[in-house]
């Protein structure tokens, strides 16, 4: 196993960083889009259930099918992979963001509005800090989910660890499959641990245990 890694470390590490980059790009775009949508949905809470349901429906489409469906529009490679991965993330992110943002105690919002905060200040100074645990757990879930689904993106030539897994499968190379899997787990686990740490620190802060 180790010997295989040493012999093929350029290929394996290359795929690892390609994968990591795909996850980072996706995550960045997903968070931007989900933040904008959540901000809008805060003002239109009646619509928010519908929007979340629509993204839930998208989330339930098998990724292989969705990649295949979009190839005619965006072609092969990242141009198709990233929009699909971003679309999948919207369900996880918006649902968690909205749960956190709307779960803030109504009396805190009333105090904030009553003292003269404008709409944006209520969101940035009160809702977002208090929704942080839910926001972080949404991001954590979406990293784990993207890391997994992005391997499927190799079928449409998006590269990353999926490429290793696919070629391992084709050639029945168990070591290759094992390393592809391990490196995926490394990304997901590292993100998971890192964000859990943030969550814990944040919870301590929210409970008034000091900075």
């Amino acid at each position: 196993m180790i010997a295989y890694f040493m012999d093929h470390r350029d290929m394996l590490l290359g795929a690892f960083f390609e994968h990591l980059w795909l996850v980072c790009e996706t995550l960045f775009l997903s968070i931007v889009l989900a933040s904008i949508l959540s901000y809008i949905l805060l003002e239109h809470q009646k619509a928010s259930q519908t929007v979340i349901q629509v993204f839930g429906a998208i989330y339930s489409i098998p990724s292989l099918a969705l990649f295949a469906l979009l190839i005619p529009f965006f072609g092969l490679g990242n141009a198709t992979a990233i929009p699909v991965l971003v679309a999948y993330n919207q369900y996880l992110l918006i649902r968690n963001f909205m749960t956190g943002l709307t779960g803030v105690d109504a009396s805190l919002v009333e105090a904030a509005v009553g003292m003269g905060m404008n709409r944006r200040q209520v969101v940035t100074k009160v809702r977002i800090p208090l929704a942080m645990p839910a926001i972080l757990s949404g991001i954590r879930l979406s990293i784990i989910s993207t890391t997994g689904i992005a391997t499927i993106a190799a079928t449409i030539n998006a590269g990353g660890l999926g490429k290793i897994l696919l070629s391992g499968l084709r050639t029945m190379n168990e070591e290759k499959i094992a390393w592809g899997t391990i490196l995926c787990v490394v990304i997901a686990l590292a993100a998971d641990l890192l964000l859990k740490r943030f969550e814990r620190e944040n919870t301590l802060l929210l409970n008034g245990a000091g900075k």
């Binding site: 105090a111 509005v113 009553g114 003269g116 800090p129 929210l206």
Partner: protein
């Protein structure tokens, strides 16, 4: 000039069969401590939430220090009005000092001015600045929290304070102390206070004027002595009798 003027104000919430405010007319002079008394659903909270435009009237006019409030930007308007609610609403992720400085911070006061004012406000509500400034709301008792709520509302030196049952969830002894201090702060500041309560003793003790409301209408507006001596109608009379305060308060004059 009146601090607050309501001209034929009418408000009915959607899905309610009766109005929350039923053609209300009132003029509150500057410097008064008005206690609004009434049972739940009588319109007293609606009344004060209209002054800082958390609610908008369906009809009628509201003037604050002679100016139409509907012509003002609600956010700017609220920054000039102190607002205290029963649940206090301290932000749990901010220290006591940060909570008190919320609006000065938004208004971009300089650091020294904020610091000095926060200390002054803490002293005003009888809390030691060095001891309390860096604590979090969760580390305070209910009474201390409401003191911070008052400090936060007072920091911009508003000409008018709106208080919605601020001591409703506080134990009797602490409440007594808070009432005394609020009375002292009002007397020193000579600002206009409008204080909603359903506790007649509290209303009589604190108010320079009492406004008694029922079913969206103002039944009586007068000094505590006037209300006790000449109840406007059967409802007011009953309210005073059932609470059993008239005689004791009239006899020893405590708190009036």
């Amino acid at each position: 000039m009146a601090a607050v003027t309501f001209k034929d104000v009418y408000k009915q919430f959607e899905g309610m069969g009766y109005p929350a405010l039923d053609h209300v007319n009132i003029e509150i002079a500057e410097g008064e401590f008005v206690t609004i008394l009434g049972s739940s659903g009588c319109g007293k909270t609606t009344f004060i939430k209209m002054i800082n435009r958390l609610y908008e009237p369906d009809a009628g006019e509201i003037l604050l220090f002679g100016k139409q409030i509907r012509d003002k930007d609600p956010v700017q308007l609220r920054r000039r009005i102190g607002y205290v609610i029963q649940q206090v609403g301290l932000f749990p992720h901010m220290t006591v000092g940060e909570n008190i400085a919320t609006i000065p911070h938004i208004l971009k006061w300089d650091k020294e001015r904020i610091n000095a004012q926060v200390d002054a406000m803490l002293l005003l509500v009888d809390l030691e600045p060095q001891e309390f400034k860096n604590r979090y709301p969760a580390q305070l008792s209910g009474g201390q929290q409401q003191r911070i709520g008052l400090a936060r509302a007072l920091i911009c030196d508003p000409r008018i304070m709106l208080l919605d049952e601020p001591f409703g969830a506080i134990d009797a002894i602490t409440r007594e102390n808070l009432q005394n201090e609020l009375k002292r702060i009002h007397t020193e500041s000579k600002k206009t206070y409008i204080f909603v309560t359903h506790d007649i003793r509290e209303a009589l003790k604190l108010g320079t004027k009492i406004m008694i409301m029922n079913q969206g209408q103002i039944l009586q507006y007068g000094t505590p002595e006037e209300v006790l001596a000449h109840p406007a109608d059967g409802f007011v009379e009953e309210l005073i009798q059932t609470s059993g305060v008239s005689e004791s308060l009239l006899k020893d004059g405590d708190g009036i």
